[in-house]
Each structure stands twice: as C-alpha cells, then as structure tokens.
C-alpha cells in the first residue's frame, strides 16, 4: 500500500480518561454459559420435555426481546449519542452481549430442534412443517446478518477500545453498522414471533 498509515488522531481520538477498562469477554460469566450448555446437552440426551420447552421458550423469549429492544429502542438512541458517550456505553454493553446472545441463541435452536423432532413437527406431513421451514429461513437470514456483520463489528469496537489511543471515527463507523443491523434483526424477530405463535396454536 502506498503511503503511510495514519494513526488515530484529531477530533475522533478518545482521551484515556474518557475510556473505561474494556474486557472483550467477561470471563466471570463463562461458568454460567458452561453450566447452561451442560444442562442443555443433558436435556437433549434424556429428552426432558419440560427442560427442552424451558430452554426453547426462555431462550427464544430472551433472544426475541433483546433483539427487539436493542434494535428498535437502544439502537436509535445510541445513534444520536456523542462518540465518547457511544464508546463508554459500548464498553459496558457489548461484552455482556458477547456472552448473552450466543448462549440464548444456542439454547433456543438446539432445544427447539429437539422439540420439533420429538413432537413430529419436522415430519413432511405435519401441519407445522412449512412454518418451521419458514422459521429456519428467517433464522438463517438473521444468522448471516448477526454473525457476518453485527458480531464482527462488536468485537472490532471492543478491540479498538483496548488500544492505547482508540480512534473515535473507527468506533463511530462500526457502531453505525451495529445500529442498522440491530434494527433489521429486530424487524426479523417480528416474523419469528408470528411464525412461532402460529406453530404453537395449530
């Protein structure tokens, strides 16, 4: 590449005193994730109907609720904050999202798949089959957006904030991506709500 690379400087730069200490993944929370994964595996192996229902309903409710709230409430507010305020919010908010969201998604999908198999909803003749396939497509689109755009942006923001002199302009651009993708995910979750309430009542 021609030319030298410009480091963070100017109005986008965040002063050291403006920045909280950033931890990309809150290590103290990993034991909770581990315990939930173990319980999930046991619930699937033993076909515990109540536990599978709990993981699917509780996980799905949290996933949908968090996506809607972040995408349609937090996101637009975040987009109007100053860069230092966004950075400070992100430093405290995103590490928690890094641990909560993959866990609730894993709980919801794994338990949901097992429930669908046990209840016969995946059988081609089931009245719910087409609705479940539709939900797979919605989840697939959400996964590509969340894993391809939103999560990389989250991690890049956190890594940027760990630098001795983080660049506010980089954080602002990545946060912009976060705000838009969170909004789209929130809207897609409405489709999930429609499909799942339909499946549960047929």
């Amino acid at each position: 590449m021609a030319g030298s690379l410009q480091g963070p400087s100017g109005p986008g730069r965040l002063d050291a005193e403006e920045r909280p200490v950033v931890q990309v993944v809150p290590v103290k929370g990993l034991w909770i994730v581990g315990a939930l994964v173990v319980l999930l595996v046991v619930a699937i192996v033993e076909d515990w109907r109540w536990a599978l229902g709990f993981f699917h309903v509780a996980g799905g409710g949290l996933w949908t609720g968090i996506d809607l709230f972040v995408g349609l409430v937090i996101g637009p507010i975040l987009g109007r904050l100053s860069i230092p305020a966004r950075a400070e919010f992100s430093a405290r908010f995103m590490p928690k999202m890094m641990i909560i969201m993959p866990t609730v998604v894993l709980m919801t999908l794994a338990a949901g798949f097992q429930l669908a198999v046990n209840l016969g909803n995946l059988e081609p003749g089931s009245v719910n089959h087409d609705w479940l396939v539709a939900s797979f497509f919605v989840v697939g689109i959400m996964a590509v957006i969340a894993l391809g755009l939103l999560e990389p942006a989250n991690i890049a923001v956190l890594l940027e904030m760990r630098k001795p002199a983080p660049d506010g302009a980089v954080i602002a651009r990545l946060m912009q991506r976060f705000v838009y993708t969170a909004g789209i995910l929130g809207l897609l979750q409405v489709a999930t709500l429609v499909i799942m309430t339909r499946v549960a009542t047929q």
């Binding site: 030298s4 690379l5 890049a156 890594l159």
Partner: protein
C-alpha cells in the same frame, strides 16, 4: 514543506482498501447456512444431497478464495487476525459441535451426516474469519506501529 524529502501521503485506517474478503466469507456463510437449513428441513427423512453438496462446494471455494486474498495482503495486521481467529474459532467449534450433536442424537447417519459435518466446519471457520478480518482490518498494520 521545506527540505528535500517529501512525506508520503497519509492514509487513514478507515480509508484503506481491501479485497472483497468480507463479501466472500459472508457469501460462504450464507451458503453453508442455506445447506444446513435444507438438511434440517428434510430431516428426519434422508435428504437428496445434490443441493447441499453444491452449496458446500461453492461455500468452500468462496472461503478458500478469501483465504488466498487474506494471505496475499501486504501490511496487514496478521497477528491481530490470528489471535482473534483462534479464540473465536474455539467458541464456534462449541456451537457447531452442539448443532452436530443434535443431529447425531436424532440418528443422522452416513453421507448426510458427513455433508452436514462439512457444512458445520465451514460455519465454524466462516464466523471466526469474519470476526478476525474485521478486527484486523481496523487494526494498525505493522508499518504504522513500527
């Protein structure tokens, strides 16, 4: 500016241009997930494998091309890429393993299971690749830090 030397033009982190690695890996991820959706939609019946195998092949090609582009990048924050890739891979191996376990537990066997596992491998590599490339793309490269 006076003197004989001319300072090279500065390029901001945001202004750097990269090959379409993010688009390629996102495409690879979308195809791998599409293949997984097809396999899940036809489960527990034995699915026709032509479509998932085709999606698997194209997804693998896209990921490989992205890998080649990344390996050829000059002045790229490779150490950031490798560190983030390694740790994220660890997390997504657990995720992919959990999905694979759900299918094995429900008696997925033979070639469909092999295709599904390969799709999961692509999924488990695509996501860390995207995360690591995004992180490295905004990191200062060696020339700026030395």
């Amino acid at each position: 500016m006076s003197g004989s030397s001319v300072a090279p033009p500065t390029v901001g982190v945001l202004d750097r241009r990269f090959p379409p690695v993010i688009a390629l890996v996102s495409g690879s991820l979308a195809l791998a997930i599409g293949g997984g959706i097809f396999m899940a939609a036809t489960f527990p019946d034995r699915p026709p494998l032509a479509l998932p195998v085709a999606l698997l092949a194209v997804s693998g090609v896209l990921l490989t091309v992205a890998g080649v582009f990344t390996a050829r990048l000059h002045d790229f924050a490779g150490s950031t890429f490798r560190t983030v890739f390694g740790w994220t891979l660890l997390a997504y191996v657990v995720q992919a393993g959990m999905i694979g376990f759900a299918f094995v537990h429900n008696h997925a066997r033979g070639r469909p299971l092999v295709v599904l596992c390969l799709l999961l491998v692509l999924f488990a590599v695509d996501v860390p690749f995207l995360v690591a490339f995004t992180a490295a793309r905004y990191a200062l490269p060696p020339s700026a830090t030395s």
